[in-house]
Subunit: 217 residues, 8 copies
């Protein structure tokens, strides 16, 4: 059978960002073929939501690539750091690292300046209060939270920027899978918060990129 | 048919509080009969979750009774005010009044001192911060919230008392019916918060009474 | 009892937009009191999700106000039109008008230029294709859809702007209440789409305002 | 214990297609016995939804059989190709291959001409538009989609044939398991689309066969 | 505001059937305007899922129209009967009449021959068995069922035609709203049954029309 | 720590059947201790829902015991066969064997005569019709079904005995886990069918025993 | 249109009880026609789940009939009392009367002796303990409960008879609609309890009749 | 990257209990680092919900620590026993041990006197009745139950203390995951019972500590 993929090489012209490869349900053979197609077109590529076994194959085949095991993300080639304070990725602690890093590396892949701020959960709210001045310097805020997902509600009442909330699947009992955090963010009584799918750090990064591209126009 | 109710007149001895009548799914004729039975036993009585039409009949039949239309609660006889700062019923605003008042009148019926504090939602968190010293003076905190139900998470990280969270059914879209607030409270990353059923202001008041009775033992 | 509301008059300074009143679960007496408080502070006000009976009272009490029965919205005073092409509110047809108008009047209240484009459903996709050039001229797109909620997926693959998707509760059977449209938008394979609660035209408008305010900084 | 199966050998006469064996929850011993019973009756057989370990046993025991690991399907004997353009199996990309192939091999087993067209997702809708003329030449369309399941809505507004939509379980977060795609297809505002169970490529193929048999009558 | 509808007058050429108006969430003024637009174009029209109050207005305004209160359907002009045995609409009894009639009048509007067979529920299966010979004479079967939705499973094992199952919302307890019947039809162990949304008699009729149009090509 | 179990040795006197041990969430050490306690009291014992690894330990420790790997059941000592036609356990095929056998061995443990009849699914209803006379000879019918769970509806309309329906977890897509079969059985339009939990072959056997014990009184 | 009902007059011979009419979703005209058909065949009839307006028409048309407004049940002709202690219908209090009475009148219609025992909820368990001796004298127990549905678990551990548990829809918050009581009964750790649909007093009565008929055989 | 944790060392002063480490979704390297930070601050520490592999590493690295494999809990240093009868942790049997022990070791870590009472399920209610006098001597009751979660309802009607109900995930079919037990506890008709998340023995222990701290003030 001929290769059954068809890269949308026009996407960057049309939308301002390149196609990214969703790795979770593809065979590693297909992913390797797609990456080779990018190399042949002289383009960088990003693959998301890889399992450890898939990641290991990619690291072996493409030794210059960047791999982040926490998020299961793989980038074909290193991208130079951008030190502009464009996007802050805010979270409560170490447990949401898989989502935080997916957003971080996606932004990095797109050449955007991004910082991770991860010790500001609502169960000890003074930690958030202490960093408000720093947070005010970013253009877009991505807020990641699992369990009851309350962090975007509190941030949304304190800061004026565009806010993209990302529910994570961290939690147990009723919080298993992230649906509670998702619903809490959608139902937030703080105003003008937008939400993406559970664990969708990638989507949050692209949404931030859409805003930043509009700022640069 | 003979009367099909059987008041548990021993409950106060056994548990430290009297039986209360759940009005929602009883015929008004049955409720009137039950109240007359209480009068015959020379006891006060409380009926909860009454519809407007049921409440109107009770007000007409028992003219000395206290009725609260917001919560659909009816008390056979006025109880003297208790000014002790025992329980604070904390909420975000005017929309949760049906739940706040159900807790308030149940505590009043049981002779407990209760205050309502209702302008402290997380979307403008300075309002809560301004009242922390006042809140520290109560022995038990009942926290009512609808929508994303984040208020108990924030309060639970700031104050040491026993906290009983009550989800309300205020909200729309995913928040319709109160399930989001309920789950957010159960999944709270603040520690040691307990939860009761949606709109169960009555249950929160009895739970507070169990604690206060233990304090008085 | 003293008035149990506490307007967050500092919100515009802090966040760049004023507090808006959620009407659905407040008594009309409370709403009237809140509006009079705004008049006393010489400020305009917006009330959302009013029922017909509440709206009628407000129209009678505040005769200069603007009422939109389709969305149940009420604005204390007319705001001059802004003809800038800032936000397009895109929908499939006449059935989502309650959500479209809530977004439209909220944007109007905030002084933003907004247009409604409502005949572009995916069941006849040429209608959308014919208007792509027009849609490219807006800075932010709000996309409203009920039933299977597919419109944001198609628009998101064609246009580069920030996109805020709003699920509406229009539909029957599995689509009752809007949960299917919500989930379809969250699961969209188009990239960087953000989502707000079902029927939350208001929240979409505030999210657009956060972006526009950032553009103006 | 005697064999506890009872093949419905009359099914082809009654319904126009043979009984197929659901492999997922049978022991491999039972499947082998059933296949031997088919061989004894001189009949071909198809087994669906096999796990890798079951498939390996069947390949070893019945070396002339055809196995497709992607879909977990096993056919006792090769069937000659039918090059008639009867059914197109349309999907967005490589991730839905397990469902696409289940439909493909079931149609092959029934002697029907089937083609797979798998690069036409709605996130880049020009890819679908470019192949409309080709799609018009088929008699029945099977459309497979995961995530938000929007593809059948778009195709259903463009093409007149019978359309059988198959939700796949590809996706994460709210899309986990395929329920969102299923509901989106059921709620589609495109007209006259029918739906089968999640991942039920087999059922879609039989439904197409029922239509094709009627066309041949 | 200008009329916010945009009839897809090309649909019949493209798909083989005309656009039908979904009445449930439109204002009656909008529906009247749309119907007048059809009269101006000299075309018949069908409106579905109307409430009694909407239907009354339409009957008064368009006195030659055909109204069916059971299904809330309205047709602008009578269509001559077609006595061909093309589609049988099969149901268990009188309770599903709102769904049966929606399918029946939609087929009638499209000029298709349709019969209603409604006394064949599985709780007394001899009633179905007695009518198998009659059912064999139709080209397509629409099967409507509420409660546990078992009828399509039984019919699907007995008859070879294309089968479109329609879950109805008749039932109580777990069956409230029709989700159980829907899921039972999707999970049916009978082969090649396709399903449409709950109460979607209209969609079943269009799906049957797609098949019949293919038969006539 | 002392043993934390407390066998209810009085249960047979009180209820007419002995306590049975739920194995799934106990450690194998606890199960061995409980079985030794039964041996010390000179009593037979039954353990249900054991995993393969637990079962292996029990077979080694108690070599006279009877183990059924399909259902994960273990009986301390063989019980003599009872050839009375008391209970028929009816199912569609080989996939539900784990539930059928749990019921079968539980009845055997209780000394009841039980037969398994497992080739009578509704997708080929003649197979059921052929065995009605045989089924009429039993006193109680246990009907096991997965997928859409339609078998009890059909049997319930044909036979007069007490019917206990057991949903099994066999199925995929919407049928995953057995909830569809459960709800279909609860919503059955056949009359007087009772239902137990998903996969609860044990509970169905005890319910049958309660009826049979009443017959013997 | 000819009458679209087809009474199953053979059901009593086949199953041991007559067909009963489900009133909820039938027009009152259809119900009257069905009842006249019974009168013409000289048979008694029972209609269940009638709304108040339907019941009023039936009472006027058939003045000798027995109507129970609490359960919405109507019986064409009085049936003589049967004083045998066959079935006890046990419930917690006055709120479940609609379910209790549906079971009661169905048993009465079938000539079975039935008693209602309704003051034995688990929140004051001494009330149940006081009546155990009385409960032991019945042949079958029907247990009705709403809220958390715990009553069958307690009764099932104390009494040996066949037990049919009926969840009622009484409750609020998470208990709304009766799903919690249903699931609690299905998950009961008491043994051999069977369950019917929410509010299905009728089904419980028929299930009891199947058992009693078996006892009489 | 610098360590991304930030221990809330002030929590004991603010709330009366120390921060506890949620282990489930942290890497074992992060947990080791956090524990070393505690040792450096000369403080004891508790980690919850550890998997077996994480626990093994901690036992090796911190050989003086206390590990409980049943609950996946790890305490850095032994705490002296407190023999005061402060909290009783009541459960039905051996299956809920993972939840019982999480509560037990958390209370031990906080210096509270706690006893485990685990043979009192409602399926044999005499076992509970026999221990009522003992239970009356505790100040707070934690009640753990899986399956239908009925135990708190019965205890709540018999004893006057504060009651914290903890649903466990023990059960199968509808009870899988603990949601049924959770909802049953929330819907309990016994009064003043509070509830925490499924399996949240830790939270119940902290809630008890909040009450005990209030008793000691």
């Amino acid at each position: 059978m001929m290769p059954n993929f068809n890269i949308d090489h026009d996407r960057h012209n049309r939308l301002g960002f390149s196609e990214v490869i969703f790795g979770a349900s593809k065979s590693v053979e297909d992913i390797v073929a797609i990456l080779n197609d990018h190399i042949a077109h002289n383009k960088n590529a990003l693959v998301t939501k890889l399992q450890a076994s898939q990641l290991a194959v990619l690291q072996e085949k493409f030794s210059r690539g960047i791999a982040d095991p926490a998020s299961g993300i793989f980038m074909l080639e290193e991208v130079p750091d951008n030190d502009t304070r464009e996007v802050a990725i805010v979270s409560a602690g170490t447990s949401d690292i898989h989502v935080v890093n997916e957003a971080y590396y996606t932004l990095k892949f797109m050449g955007t300046g991004a910082d991770r701020i991860s010790d500001v959960g609502v169960a000890g709210i003074h930690r958030l209060m202490n960093r408000l001045d720093e947070l005010k310097t970013f253009k877009v805020l991505i807020i990641v939270a699992g369990f009851e997902g309350a962090l975007p509600s509190v941030v949304g009442g304190l800061l004026p920027q565009p806010i993209i909330a990302v529910p994570s699947d961290v939690g147990y009992g009723v919080a298993t899978g992230g649906q509670v955090a998702l619903n809490a963010m959608l139902a937030s009584c703080a105003n003008g918060i937008t939400v993406v799918n559970i664990n969708n750090g990638y989507g949050a990064a692209v949404a931030a990129t859409r805003i930043l591209n509009q700022l640069k126009r």
